[in-house]
Symmetry: C2
Subunit: 95 residues, 2 copies
Amino acid sequence: MAKESGIVFIGRKPAMSYVMAIITSLSASNAKEITLKARGRAITTAVDTAEITRNRFIKDLKVSKISIGTEEMPPREGENRARMVSTMEITLTKK
Amino acid sequence: MAKESGIVFIGRKPAMSYVMAIITSLSASNAKEITLKARGRAITTAVDTAEITRNRFIKDLKVSKISIGTEEMPPREGENRARMVSTMEITLTKK
C-alpha cells in the first residue's frame, strides 16, 4: 500500500479477500476514505465487497460516491478490434 | 410497460436486449428518466447496458443516480439460511 494507498483494485478473488484488505487498510492508516476499482465481471464483486464491509464489519462506513465508465482494452491475441469494458468505482468514507 | 413504466429489470439476457428495451421505452413515451434494477451477477450487465446506451445510442443521456444495497433472498431448497444478494439501481436521465 505504498503509492496507491486508499485504492483497492477488485479482481477475481472472492469478495471476502477484498473486505479484509479494506479493513486492514483503514485500521493501519488514519485514512477515512477508500476507493474500490473494478472492471467487467469484477464489478459485481466490488458491490458485494462494499456491502459486506459496511453491513458486517465497519458500520460507520458510508458509500460516498459511485461512478461508472467505459475503458478501451487492447484486442485479444488473434483479434483486431479493441474491446470496450465497463468500469466502476465505489468510494467508502468513514463517518 | 403498463405499470412499471420507467423501470427496466436487468436479468440474464445479453446487455443489448436491455439497451433495446430502454431505447424503445424512452422513444415511445415522453419519459425523460429510466431506472435499471439488477441483483447479483446481473449488476455487471446493468452497468454494460447503461454504458452502451449512452455511449452508442442516446448521447444526451446522463447517469443521474447510482445506488447499491443488499437484499435478503429466501434460502434455496435444501438449505436453511437466507442468502444476502447485492443490488444496484442506475437512473438515466435525458438532458
